[in-house]
């Protein structure tokens, strides 16, 4: 399985009004995606749901192919947000939005893209951070993975190995139990007030814990 996720804070200044910025929209969305956004009652949320889906798919795709394109327009998102595709690679897609608030819109969108069987879909969640987005996202991921494994979260670490030429000089995050790598794919994201994680099944190691 490969997995990627991305969260967008819809109240962040950079997110608000983005659907009205024509060049920006044209740069990241395909024609059918633009039509879906234009037809939406909440164009900004619709835009960022699709952007997050593309970003999640990119994070998943780089695990298969380090040179996967990062340009959002390279990724095609289904009109019903059920899948996202890069060439022949089609990934399941879940777009999580909390219940709309009094303002009529949700606070964030969280997209998770993954391969494999739908029934084996990853665990994922998003929520507000407590002051250190990077550490808080890792902590939430560790707590979820530890619950699956039935172990204490302190035994888990999320590590990123240096990889020259990657977007930030590091490879995708990986989960370690007692210093040894676990096969479960993991993904982390934070934006504005929110952090999010997704991870594949880790339970197969449970009998060793």
């Amino acid at each position: 399985m490969i997995v990627g996720n991305d969260v967008v804070d819809l109240d962040d200044p950079e997110a608000r009004g983005a659907a009205r910025r024509d060049r920006f929209v044209r740069r990241i969305l395909r024609p059918a995606e633009r039509r879906a956004v234009e037809a939406s009652s909440d164009p900004d949320a619709a835009l960022w749901a699709r952007f997050a889906a593309k970003e999640a798919a990119y994070k998943a795709a780089v695990r298969l192919h380090g040179g996967a394109p990062s340009a959002p327009a390279a990724y095609e998102v289904a009109e019903d947000l059920a899948w996202v595709r890069l060439h022949a690679l089609r990934l399941h897609l879940v777009v999580e939005t909390p219940a709309p608030r009094a303002s009529g819109r949700p606070a964030f969108v969280h997209a998770v893209a993954f391969s494999g069987d739908w029934d084996d879909r990853p665990r994922f969640a998003a929520g507000p951070h407590r002051g250190d987005p990077g550490a808080d996202a890792r902590s939430l991921l560790a707590e979820s993975a530890a619950a699956s494994l039935g172990c204490d979260p302190s035994r888990l670490r999320i590590v990123r190995d240096p990889i020259a030429g990657s977007w930030d000089g590091f490879g995708p995050p990986r989960l370690h139990l007692d210093g040894l790598p676990l096969p479960a794919p993991v993904s982390l994201s934070h934006h504005g007030r929110f952090v999010a994680y997704a991870h594949g099944a880790v339970a197969q190691r449970r009998r060793h814990v």
């Binding site: 967008v8 920006f24 394109p69 340009a71 930030d168």
Partner: protein, 81 residues
Amino acid sequence: MMQTEVFEKVVGILKPFVREPEALERVGPDTSILGDLKVNSARLVDVVLEMEDAFGIAISDEEADSVRSVGDAVSLVLRKR
């Protein structure tokens, strides 16, 4: 336009989108735009649009994809002009 001039202009374009302002104080050609300056992927799209406007060039998705560092961005501009 000289390389230094393009460099200064690129740094000026990046400045509003940088989430790690102290990294700008030691910015150089090898500075990673996403990794060191913490420009996020959505803002990177804005950076590309502003570079197109500022230098009067068109930047394809493939060309934008090849830009990792400030030096990559400068080289791209010099190549396109």
